[in-house]
């Protein structure tokens, strides 16, 4: 195996791995600070923060060091490469670079959104000097309030790493961002009249290592050190971007992409990034309800659930097709499993349907070329299928019923009156039935709606069960590619709502508490297609159902 020597520590790298010094040092547990380098963008080696000493260990054991410093980002490693990142020479260069970067920086950390997660703060603390030797006035550059609908630029905080420029040229392909002027006067800007409003624009805020590019949505909403992060998955489309949910005191403040090579890579789209506001809207269902003839009978969870249980138990003799359960592709695998299993236990003739799979347009591929057409290689895809877990729910439905019945065909039967009971597990913020179609539900004898937001359909349901948004629950989503990823409960939903898994767990009469990891193992043992879930804990990056399917399913206790 090729071996690289980082600060006297040998570290092995893969035989065909192409790493630079920063990555090799990371393997050895050492950090080489950097700003402009990002593994998904081209290398420009311009910030000069990652300067290191590089050399080569010869076969005879001697080490020949290059006399000058080299940028770690630009220097590939191979067997025998020697990296020194802690010598006096390197430390002096890091200190000098940081002094330069802070020369004209306003040091307005107290009111800067980035404070607490800022590359300048962190590296200055670790590698910088405590005072500036600049005696002259700083350059003052005008802030640019409108880089895009979601993006504002605090120009004088910028360190000219050009990550944003490269992102719009290389990943989105839309090329709105550029560098204007020259030398110390240069600034990031947009072309006149061409704001950065592409569907991936929000990523430039994440890429900005300092507080220059800020999200208008998050600006001044919260100090980042109060935020608690939980790993989750964006439910906005079937790409299933790995994200973190950042909340404080049960208020969701922002979503950020979390790097996952198996899912989407490093980025996320603005539809997902800013599209979660429904979860905290006043349209949320916040209390369960049992109604009869339009009148409220109870709004108490215990009463409603036990009454629903009794009512459903009475359906055991319903004829085939009269009892329909529709499970939305927004439900987690666990929820789909609990509900499908419960329905079949109650009545083996229960018909299971897949809730509406909402698609919008066609898959949106990036980068775009100059004509707005996708160009290869594709770096990011916003999928037309606007739900997170069709594949996961389908796997459950296939297992219990051998086929996937689309909701549209069920709705026809509902309208014709051949269905007596409909249990809908919703979750799509756009709803599961259009307002025009609501009258089609009139012939139902029993309508049970478990959903997130109130709707004309929930208003006429006999049982309403207020569920949780994806950020408020644990579970599993399977993306378009068969990658099963865990979502985690980042915050509590509004008082009165409950995580859907817990509702269904109780409804099924199971003992104990809903626990996603244990349930995954149960599911894996029951459903071969989901055997990969047997690990229970899906880890940071999730597990692939398809690669696991090639191996023998593991028996799970």
């Amino acid at each position: 195996m090729p071996t690289v020597i980082v600060n006297n520590k040998p570290v092995e790298i893969g035989p065909s791995e192409k790493l630079n010094c920063i990555q090799a040092a990371e393997r050895a547990g050492d950090t080489i600070p950097s700003y402009c380098w990002h593994h998904d963008l081209s290398v420009v080696a311009s910030c000069r923060m990652c300067l290191v000493e590089v050399g080569e260990k010869k076969p005879d054991g001697t080490i020949a060091m290059q006399p000058k410093l080299s940028p770690g980002c630009q220097t590939p490693v191979k067997d025998g490469t020697v990296i020194v990142s802690n010598s006096e020479k390197v430390l002096a260069a890091q200190k000098a670079t940081l002094e330069y970067l802070l020369l004209n920086h306003p040091l307005d950390c107290p009111v800067c959104d980035q404070a607490g997660e800022c590359g300048l703060q962190d590296y200055s603390y670790k590698y910088g000097r405590g005072y500036s030797r600049l005696q002259e006035p700083k350059n003052i550059k005008p802030d640019k309030d409108y880089i895009g609908d979601q993006i504002t630029l605090f120009t004088d905080r910028c360190i000219m790493c050009t990550r944003c420029v490269r992102f719009t040229r290389e990943i989105s392909g839309t090329a709105e961002m550029q560098v204007v002027s020259r030398g110390t006067h240069e600034e990031i800007d947009i072309f006149p009249g061409e704001p950065c409003n592409n569907k991936l624009a929000g990523n430039v805020v994440d890429l900005c290592p300092v507080g220059a590019l800020c999200s208008k949505d998050f600006l001044y909403q919260q100090r980042v050190w109060w935020l608690k992060s939980k790993n989750s998955v964006c439910p906005g489309c079937s790409t299933g971007c790995s994200i973190t949910v950042d909340q404080n005191e049960d208020v969701l403040y922002r979503l950020k992409p979390r790097e996952n090579p198996q899912a989407q890579g490093s980025f996320m789209c603005d539809e997902g990034r800013f599209g979660w506001k429904y979860a905290q809207s006043d349209r949320r269902l916040t209390l369960p309800e049992q109604r009869s003839a339009g009148k409220t009978i109870s709004r108490d969870w215990d009463v409603v659930l036990s009454s629903l249980g009794t009512t459903l138990a009475d359906l055991s003799d319903q004829k085939s097709g009269a009892f329909v359960v529709a499970i939305s592709p927004w439900a987690t695998v666990e929820e789909a499993y609990l509900l499908a299993k419960f329905a079949k236990d109650v009545n083996p003739n229960a018909r299971l349907a897949l809730g509406p799979v909402r698609t919008v347009g066609e898959d949106d591929l990036y980068p775009k070329d100059i004509h707005g057409q996708p160009s290869l290689p594709t770096r990011f895809t916003i999928r037309a299928e606007k739900c997170p877990n069709r594949r996961g729910v389908e796997a459950v439905l296939n297992h219990f019923q051998g086929e996937v019945v689309p909701f549209s065909s069920v709705l026809g039967d509902v309208e014709s009156g051949s269905v007596d009971t409909l249990f809908v597990l919703g979750g799509d913020p756009e709803g599961w039935i259009s307002e025009a179609d609501v009258p089609k539900l009139d012939k139902l004898k029993l309508l049970i709606v478990q959903d997130l937001l109130g709707s004309p359909a929930s208003a006429k349901a006999h049982f309403v069960l207020p569920g949780a948004a994806w950020a408020e629950k644990d579970g599993t989503f399977v993306n378009h590619n068969g990658l099963a990823q865990a979502i985690h409960r980042g915050l509590r939903g509004p008082e009165g709502s409950r995580p859907d898994g817990r509702i269904l767990f109780e409804l099924s009469g199971r003992s104990g508490l809903f626990h996603a990891a244990s349930l995954r193992q149960e599911i894996a043992s029951q459903i071969p297609e989901l055997a990969a879930l047997s690990v229970g804990d899906l880890g940071e990056f999730g597990v692939s159902l398809t690669s696991a399917a090639k191996t023998e399913p593991q028996p799970v206790g």
Binding site: L69, A96, L103, E136, M160, R182, T184
Partner: protein
Amino acid sequence: MSTFEPTLLARISKTDSQLLETYRRDGGYEGFKKALGMAPVDVINLVKDSGLRGRGGAGFPTGLKWTFLPKDHPGPIYLAINGDESEPATFNNRILMEQDPHQVLEGIAISCYAIKSKKAYIYLRYEYGRSYRALKKAIEECYAAGLFGKNIHGTGFDLDVVLHRGAAAYICGEETGLIESLEGKRAWPRIKPPFPAIEGLFRKPTIVNNIETMACVKQILDRGADWFKSMGVPPDPSNPRDAGSYGPKLYCISGHVNKPGCVELPMGITARQLIDEHGGGVWKGRKAKAVVPGGISMGFLSASELDTPLDFNGPGKVGCLGLGTAAITVIDDHTSMVDVLFNCARFFAHESCGQCTPCREGTAWMHKILARIRMGEGQSRDLDLLTEVASSMGIIPGTTICGLSDGAAWPIKNAIKKFRSEFEEYIQTGRKTVKPSDALMEVH
């Protein structure tokens, strides 16, 4: 020295020297014809044998550079000619382009044939309007005469020459900055490797050569490698990296002399000879305090270093960055080095391309410090700070992508080292060259 006959500048004062007709009458394009009768590799070897080193500033051996191109490349291979000539006080290329454009074009044609390039781009500094018009007309003449175009002289060799005007920036003189600019991009020098010979213009193998180098190539074809090598200075045995400095060189003389101008002399003339024998001596009967040996990025020769030979090796021996463009600027003893250095710093702060942090911020900071010193608010520790900042930038310490940063730092380091007492006196006496209000205006 009196027997030396100029060759590069031989035609510039002749009537209609720019025209193809007069150029051909003087034997023009015979060298190109001769080259077409040779194998390309033989032309490269001839240039290698001559010991020609690039006239742009870095002095890299031209023939050797040509051999860095990939062997048997299917093409296209490009030749990019650097006519950006943006080093202050340098105007040797301008004279060649304005007065004898065909000499340059013939060199380009020969070089293209040697490196198997079918397309040459001349990157011309925007301010050079006369050069532009002269070159444009000369190129048109060449096309009309069948010297450029398809199947030249029935040899099957094709050549197109494109004249491109830049938008006036110092950084476009850096070869990869030039390439980026030629591609229509912001002139930010590229990281190397890959070097242009492997991946240059439009990501194809590219050779970047200077205008004067092209004129030298033409003369070498006409007169042979031995003629070229008969002039100049052999390699310095004490410097293993010195490849010798051969051939004629165009020296520009400017500043405080009686007779500024451009003269052609064998490599290795001293600054004192240039001033006294060719520049008419220091003006107003004064003495030289300092001399810029080859563009201000090279630093300064002090009065005691004027006998330094101006070849590729000489200026380095007295702490200068190199020969550079061989454009000397004479600074008389009535001039404040603080003012000179401020002017240098202002230039480089203005021209730093802004890509690498140390140069972007360092040049501007040094400019601000010098402005403050000129306002009478200097402290002696500023000199150490200036030296520290200057030492932290450039490709020599490895902290920047291109060498222009070294050039921005060198005059600072050089001046403070060689004229420190003058700076200290200036600071200690609280002298002010400018009113604070003026100094501030000069900063912004």
